[in-house]
Structures are given as structure tokens and as C-alpha cells.
Symmetry: C2
Subunit: 205 residues, 2 copies
């Protein structure tokens, strides 16, 4: 579908049809687009837990302020960001060297640098992984809309409890949740957006 139309028609949907399911093939197609998102140094810190089982969605809902669309949607996707910059550094930088972006010495230095980045303070690591992971989350919502699916991003959850319930290691940030499925009924009118002149500055703040 046309990109402008997809961006214009995407809404955060709160009312899902509990009987219409997203298939394995649709998830594969979706994440094969999501993975093409850019990220800092192409380190792709994103990871996703697709929760489709009814009991598991209820467990997630219980640690997410009981938002009903978590249970009603076909799936709730837990969007995770790895806080360790080194996690995929070897595969990534060796690939860059192989493809002629830089030489192997530079690749090896970058691999070492990412090990140092693993030791940065917690705030830096959380902001770092949230930045790139949210890029992938937006691609997910746009690609889903293009596929005729509805989504709803959520930041209302108890991160520690989500991590405990779903066995998520300490070094991951729970960046957001995204409900995904089929819309049950048309939403209310689109809410207000800030205008161009208000959000765009020229040359300086």
C-alpha cells in the first residue's frame, strides 16, 4: 500500500477482534521488514517476545495495569532492547570489513570499543538501547498497518514484573509493548497533533 496512506491511516487501536488471529507467516513477513531498521553502529539491539497464548497474555496484562487490549489483541509483542553494545559486535563489524566499509583492523578496534561500552553507566545504556529499539518498533507499526493489521504501542507496564514473568535477563530494557491484531470497530476521531510550525525550528532552537 502507498506509504503516505499507511502513515496517515495508522492509528493506535484499543479495540481488537479477539477471534481474528495473526498467522506465523504474517509474523515472519512483518519481522523481515522490522529487521531492516537502522540502529546505532548497526548493532540491532532489538529483540521481541510474541505472546499469543491466552494465559500468557493475561499474565502480561496483569503487570501492565490491566489494559484490556493486551488480552483482546491476537498478540502482545514485548519489545526489548539489549543494553550490551557488544552483543552482536563481532558478526556486525566483521561483515562491514568484508563488504569494504573499512579494514579488519578498524573492525577489531570497534569490537573492543563495544566491550568498553558494555561498562558504561546504566542510564547511558538504557537511553542507547531505547533509541535504536524504538526505531524498529515504529517500523513494526508501519509495516503492520501496510499488512492490514492494527497495532497499539504501550508504555504502561511494570518493567521489573514483566521481566520476571517472561524470563527476561537483567541486561534487557523493556522498551514498550505493542498489541497487534485486527481492529474490532472504528476508533473515535484522531486525536490532536502539534503543528508543523510548533515542532520545527529553523537553524537554531
Amino acid at each position: 500500500m502507498d506509504t503516505k496512506k499507511v502513515i496517515q491511516e495508522r492509528r493506535s487501536v484499543h479495540s481488537f477482534d479477539p477471534n481474528k488471529k495473526v498467522t506465523d507467516a504474517q509474523f515472519k513477513q512483518l519481522f523481515d521488514l522490522v529487521k531492516l531498521s537502522p540502529s546505532g553502529y548497526n548493532l540491532q539491539p532489538w529483540e521481541f517476545i510474541v505472546v499469543r497464548d491466552a494465559a500468557n497474555k493475561e499474565r502480561l496484562k496483569a503487570v501492565s495495569y490491566n489494559q484490556p487490549h493486551i488480552a483482546d489483541a491476537s498478540a502482545a509483542v514485548i519489545v526489548l532492547g539489549n543494553k550490551l553494545a557488544s552483543a552482536h559486535a563481532v558478526d556486525n563489524f566483521d561483515d562491514w570489513a568484508r563488504k569494504g566499509y573499512f579494514d579488519q583492523g578498524t573492525a577489531d578496534n570497534l569490537k573492543k570499543q563495544m566491550k568498553d561500552w558494555d561498562q558504561r553507566d546504566e542510564t547511558t545504556k538504557r537511553v542507547w538501547t531505547t533509541r535504536s529499539t524504538a526505531l524498529a518498533a515504529m517500523t513494526l507499526m508501519i509495516a503492520a498497518q501496510d499488512m492490514g493489521l492494527a497495532t497499539c504501542p504501550m508504555e504502561g507496564f511494570e518493567a521489573d514484573k514483566v521481566k520476571k514473568e517472561f524470563g527476561i535477563p537483567e541486561h534487557y530494557e523493556v522498551v514498550m509493548l505493542i498489541a497487534i491484531g485486527y481492529e474490532a470497530k472504528s476508533p473515535l476521531p484522531r486525536v490532536w497533533r502539534r503543528g508543523y510550525e510548533e515542532m520545527v525550528h529553523r537553524e537554531k532552537f
Copy 2:
């Protein structure tokens, strides 16, 4: 253009034609799509400085590890996130109440709650604004690609110096920079991406 094709063809471009400029009308069209991005509570913390003047691009480049595409691109966009959740709370929640999402009492309570959120710790505020602002940044890159423009997101900059050079108030986070313009030459082959099985978990981590 077709959304899948746009997502598949978008690349982070490092080589811009310094003579081809993005027009005012293009920026207006671009940001009118960007503003439709979702955000936590629809608070739209994003703000953008479009830097097109050659001397200003050089100043930005100097505080961004001298990345050459900042100067070569038609513009460098400084992507900012407001750390104050209350900034647009009144306009936003009153609009929700008017449109029937909830009653005015709920709107008033949420406005108060956002004032409390302004007092959250710095880490929470930085992660919060980065999350929603990065969603808008991804919409910007996808919409630009659809318009025939090339982009390059950057996280390599000295945030304090960027803020000082461009008069950015303390309560904004510099989330990323995005170079935007026209591609000068075809890039090297696309770099590696993690596969579906590696990045997607089922039901639990």
C-alpha cells in the same frame, strides 16, 4: 510508493550530493507525516531543528566527530525530545475529552499527573522522551525515502555542545541527528541483519 519497497530500499546514506537541496515544501510535507507518529499518552515530545545554512552545518559537524555527511547533506535535522511530560498535556487531554475518549475530570487528573511526571528522576525522563521521539524519527526516515530523499541517522555527537551551539534548553534530550538530502552515489552492499529466529522469541524469552 509501496510501503514494503520503501522499507526494503531505505539505507543509511553517507554520501550526499551537496548541490541538491530539499525544499521548504518538501520539509512541510515530511513533517506533516512525522507528526502522525504515536507517542506515550499522545504527548508528542518531539521537536526538530532543521539546519540548512552551510556555516551552521559546519558548527554541528564540529560537535559531531566531524562526520562529513552533516555538511554534505542538504540539511541536518537535530531530533530533540522534551523531557517535560506536561509540556503539551493541556492541549492534548482536553482534546481527548472533547472527542469522547474520557470525561473532563479524567483529563484534569491526567494533566495533574503529567506535572508530577515532570519531577521524575532524570534517567526516567530521558528514557521516556527517547522512546516516543525515536518513533517519530523512524517515521521521518521512512517518509523521506518515500519522497525520494536519502537519510542517515547518527548517534555520534557531543550532546552538551550541540545544546550550547544551537540554544537548546536544558530540558530537551538530543535524541539523534538525521542527515537528509539526495544520494550522491550508490552505497556499498547492505550490511548484515540479524535473522527472524534470532530476534523473535515465542511466549517467553
